[in-house]
Symmetry: C2
Subunit: 238 residues, 2 copies
């Protein structure tokens, strides 16, 4: 152990202010809000310490008094958008409540298309994440299964929401700083896919393509996936 660097504390365990010295010109929340604003408007890659500082009208290095590392900034950002979850009063219908939670998560991700990318790298138990977890458990109160199963349900459902929504918005986030539109990029990718399938190298895939008439309703696909997951945990449906 001797000589080894100590593990820094989680950002949430670090006190925002200790009392001594000049009054800070901005708070941790200000920084997070600025970062979120930048990510929303100009994409996640535009979230640099310099840009945040510019947005806040302060020097770049001042930020490090509030946020020790950039990775902590990412946790702040995720926590900030986590606050957008409405922690409504559970209705007693756990399926409906969880569907509502899922819909809200999806909506949040649509508003902040960079969220899935950050979630893939950060395992955060931020205050708002914990609050949301607790809220989900409250919604699941009527469900008569062990608590461990409930957390598994929450994890599974959140995972499905994330991956499904991430696929929808991946192109949006990618084409952020590029001189062509999302639709154009999608068209190119779909054209390639169509050409590949047409070669005959993927017969079953081709059949699946041929089967579908008209455009897929992504919202409907999403809804079905959620229902399936909920079914898998519903004692009355098995």
């Amino acid at each position: 152990m001797a000589g080894r660097a100590a593990v820094p504390e989680v950002i949430w365990a670090r006190p925002e202010r200790t009392g001594r010295g000049p009054k800070p010109a901005f708070t941790r929340a200000d920084i997070a809000a600025a970062a979120v604003r930048i990510a929303d408007e100009r994409g996640l890659d535009a979230v640099s310490m310099r840009h945040i500082a510019a947005e806040l009208g302060c020097g770049t290095m001042s930020l490090y008094n509030h946020v020790p590392r950039k990775e902590d900034l990412y946790e702040l950002m995720l926590d900030a958008v986590g606050a957008e979850h409405e922690l409504f009063e559970p209705t007693g219908d756990w399926r409906a409540d969880m569907l509502r939670n899922a819909a809200e998560t999806r909506a949040i991700m649509r508003r902040h298309t960079w969220v899935p990318r950050l979630m893939a790298g950060v395992l955060g138990f931020s205050p708002n994440t914990l609050r949301y977890l607790e809220h989900c458990l409250a919604c699941l109160e009527p469900l008569d299964v062990p608590a461990g199963t409930k957390t598994e349900l929450i994890a599974l459902l959140n995972g499905v929401v994330t991956t499904y929504t991430a696929n929808d918005i991946a192109t949006v986030e990618r084409t952020r700083s590029v001189p062509w539109s999302v639709e154009e990029e999608n068209a190119v990718r779909m054209a390639y896919l169509g050409r590949q399938v047409a070669t005959g190298a993927y017969p079953r895939l081709a059949a699946a393509f041929a089967e579908q008439s008209g455009p897929v309703d992504l919202e409907e696909v999403f809804r079905r996936a959620l229902e399936r997951v909920l079914d898998a945990f519903d004692p009355e449906r098995r």
Copy 2:
């Protein structure tokens, strides 16, 4: 449209070589292999054009003759590890076959801990992805549901595998270039979580914590999640 930049072709649609000029000193596959090697050994953040060039013993800018943008490199990397999927002969038991596919995906991600992070940003229909998709459809041949439902099953299952495995390995990837160990970082995070739960602010979460006796077997949790998803699509189980 006039004056607008054209959308570049998907990397897979670009021919590897057109015939004129000097013989290339390395191939696209060489670049992908070098990138994967670096990512495995030193983490995804170490995958820079300069490092790849050093690994290949060539100039940095030479790479751009083979890979127009770095994002394309990411697609190459994902396709390269996609080749590690064993496309076995379907047994006729679609559940067993899909479980095997899922286990392989999980194993691949454990070998290449950077995969989830890349998958969150790249929507790729690379050759190996298409082959894997076709293979999954072959495994699902005995399942008597519409083709659309089968693709939904594949998507849902892959999503679950990704999110579950990503959570396991997120810390591994994060602590790559940092002077403390994964265990130490996890300990700090868990300590914080324990402290928060102990405050009493999250009673249901606390109850869930108290309920579990002994450490959770992540592998078992994973297996259960898969079974649940498969159940949701199994006509004989509903």
